[in-house]
């Protein structure tokens, strides 16, 4: 592990070869690498990204110590934890003694700039591999928090290291996100060498091109399954599918980190709903968080939400996407069905941490 961490520290800055990248990919990475810092980690890739050069702020994935050492721009640096966001699992770090102006900070990408098929560079502790955006419009559901989130789905060559916390960029140096989850087929067990979320070789011993051979990797986006194109772009190593937070969520996180209190203000109303038994018949309120905006507005468990700001809410998916687009402080007009009567309430969107 120590050797691995040392290697990770060494390659950042473009000192080590990056997988099987083409020359133009390697050149693109050389421009990105100075903004990527590394630090010892046993749970993640131990990478951090410069997001505020003036103040020396970096972001990283996962839990970190309050103070630790790492390497940035080829120099040893001490990082201090400034803030953490429990929703995105991202943390804000401050590099002590950071000298601004030497490294170009990277900006998060906008949704309009990324689409399925966009070539990507995925940076791990062991090197950089090429990847490809599969979808930028996935809806994710975090089982522990029962929160919905938007996700980018991407595919890349299987690295030798863990992927949690890997940084994803476009080839023109825009920051896409941090890998936080990997796809596993339903019903499979989590074990190396088994039918996990990475596919082995396809039958017949042919290299897995990530299309038909990802037996344990779930379903791949149909629009990317051009067999020949994938063979030309990837391989011979296996492919996998993983997720980063969607661009809007990432921007919200960075905006919160850049605020004076460094707190990310995720919108929340205190409503938990499920689909109505009636097909497309709205969502039924299962519970209302105490002292939440929804409770203050008079929403009760058992109410059926029909629309929010005149946007029809037919399924939990509609509800989730609407909730993701809200901003704290916004007032939402919610039309409910209660005891066969239509009721309209106004909910002032709060902050998830409240």
């Amino acid at each position: 592990m120590l050797t691995l961490l040392w290697v990770a520290n060494a390659w950042v800055g473009g000192e080590l070869p990056q997988s099987d990248l083409m020359d133009f990919e390697r050149a693109a990475w050389q421009k990105i690498a100075p903004a990527v810092a590394s630090y010892p980690s046993t749970k993640t890739n131990g990478l951090a990204l410069l997001v505020d050069d003036r103040n020396g702020y970096f972001i990283t994935y996962g839990e970190v110590e309050k103070s630790f050492t790492g390497k940035a721009n080829g120099k040893p640096v001490t990082f201090k934890l400034v803030s953490s966001d429990e929703v995105s699992h991202l943390s804000l770090l401050k590099a002590e003694g950071w000298k601004p102006g030497e490294v170009q900070e990277l900006k998060p990408i906008a949704r309009r700039d990324i689409r399925a098929g966009t070539p990507l560079l995925v940076a791990f502790a062991g090197g950089t591999v090429r990847g490809e955006m599969a979808s930028n419009g996935m809806l994710g559901y975090e089982r522990a928090t029962r929160r919905m989130t938007s996700l980018n789905e991407l595919r890349f060559e299987l690295p030798e290291t863990n992927i949690a916390g890997a940084l994803v960029f476009t080839r023109d140096g825009q920051f896409v996100g941090v890998l936080s989850a990997s796809l596993q087929a339903a019903g499979t067990q989590n074990s190396r060498g088994g039918t996990g979320n990475f596919a082995g070789a396809t039958p017949g011993g042919q290299p897995n091109n990530g299309v038909g051979g990802q037996s344990g990797g779930g379903e791949i986006r149909g629009q990317l399954t051009d067999n020949n194109a994938m063979k030309r772009s990837f391989g011979p190593r296996d492919m996998t599918t993983a997720y980063t937070l969607g661009p809007e969520i990432m921007r919200r996180v960075l905006k919160g980190f850049a605020s004076s209190d460094h707190v990310v203000k995720h919108p929340a109303v205190g409503l938990f709903v499920k689909d109505s038994p009636v097909m497309m018949g709205g969502v039924i309120v299962q519970s209302v968080t105490e002292k939440s905006p929804a409770e203050e507005a008079g929403v009760h468990a058992g109410d059926t939400i029909l629309s929010m700001d005149n946007t029809p809410i037919k399924t939990t998916t509609d509800f989730a996407w609407f909730l993701l687009n809200l901003e704290a402080g916004q007032v939402v007009r919610v039309k409910l069905l209660r005891d066969q009567m239509q009721v309209t309430v106004m909910i002032k969107v709060g902050i998830a941490a409240d």
């Binding site: 993640t44 689409r115 559901y141 089982r143 989590n190 979320n197 379903e219 997720y243």
Partner: protein, 286 residues
């Protein structure tokens, strides 16, 4: 005196005097056969005039003819009505005649396109190159020949002809060298082609090279653009991503990614599972 009697007789015969005066006049001329005969002839004249359908009633009235004509109303109306009636009859006939003329011109214009292409290709739409025949080869007859009809049909179905069609449509149309009598017949046709076809057809989408794929079931289907009926093409299954302008419901992606809190031993990242939205019964919120 004779004239005065004549006028009196006409007034009597045309009923311009009261009935008792007519009876008194008849009683006074009971023996005057000539006068009675004249009276009867005058009355017969009135009857004959009444039998003429085209003669307005007022014209039969000897005394009121002038005044009633000057009053005009009854006189002008029949003329206008007659014109309207004829207009209803003639207008459709004229339109039909014009349509026949246009239809006769149209099929003869397309074969002329073929003759005006400098370097035609067998795959080009509407560009069959006829072999010169001994009699000069009428354009319409060439287009109807089975071999060229087949080529044209192939051009309509095959997407490879779209480039040829565009190239062809950009070509200037040159008047065909022909005999004097033919020149007279074709003077207007190049103008017709130049004025209409090149300005309209290039804006149409090119026929698809490959068969379209229906998005719903993925089955290959013939392109609407290449079916020869001018139908718009069916949407082709595109590799375009599911991109929302804002964060919006994924219309074409009814899937949801369930992210578990435990990590995958292989990747170190949280485990994720894709499920269809209609297969999960979860409580979401925030």
């Amino acid at each position: 005196m004779a004239k005065r009697n004549e006028e009196e007789l006409i007034q009597l015969a045309f009923g311009e005097v009261p009935d008792h005066e007519i009876e008194a006049w008849l009683a006074g001329h009971r023996g005057n056969q000539a006068a009675l005969r004249e009276f009867e002839m005058t009355r017969q004249l009135k009857s004959d005039l009444q039998m003429l359908r085209e003669v307005p009633e007022p014209q039969i009235n000897f005394e009121g003819v002038k005044d009633r004509i000057l009053s005009a109303g009854p006189m002008a109306a029949p003329v206008a009505k007659s014109r309207t009636r004829w207009g209803w009859i003639l207008a459709p006939l004229g339109a039909a005649a014009l349509a026949v003329v246009m239809l006769n011109l149209r099929p003869k214009a397309e074969p002329n396109l073929a003759f005006n292409v400098p370097s035609p290709s067998p795959n080009q739409i509407f560009v069959p190159t006829p072999a010169p025949s001994a009699n000069g080869g009428d354009a319409a007859s060439v287009a109807m020949r089975p071999d060229f009809a087949g080529a044209a049909s192939e051009g309509l179905v095959g997407g490879a002809s779209s480039t040829g069609l565009r190239a062809f449509l950009n070509e200037p149309v040159k008047p065909r060298q022909s005999t004097p009598e033919r020149t007279v017949r074709r003077v207007r046709r190049p103008a017709l082609v130049e004025a209409s076809v090149p300005k309209i057809l290039p804006e149409k989408p090119a026929p698809a090279v490959t068969p379209n794929v229906d998005i719903a079931d993925g089955a290959p289907r013939p392109s609407g653009a290449s079916n020869g009926f001018g139908m718009p093409p069916k949407p082709i299954a595109s590799p375009a991503p599911m991109v929302a302008s804002k964060m919006g419901p994924p219309k074409a992606e009814p899937k949801i990614v369930i992210i578990d809190s435990d990590t995958d031993l292989l990747t170190g990242a949280n485990r994720a599972t894709e499920v269809t939205t209609n297969s999960v019964d979860v409580v979401v919120g925030g």
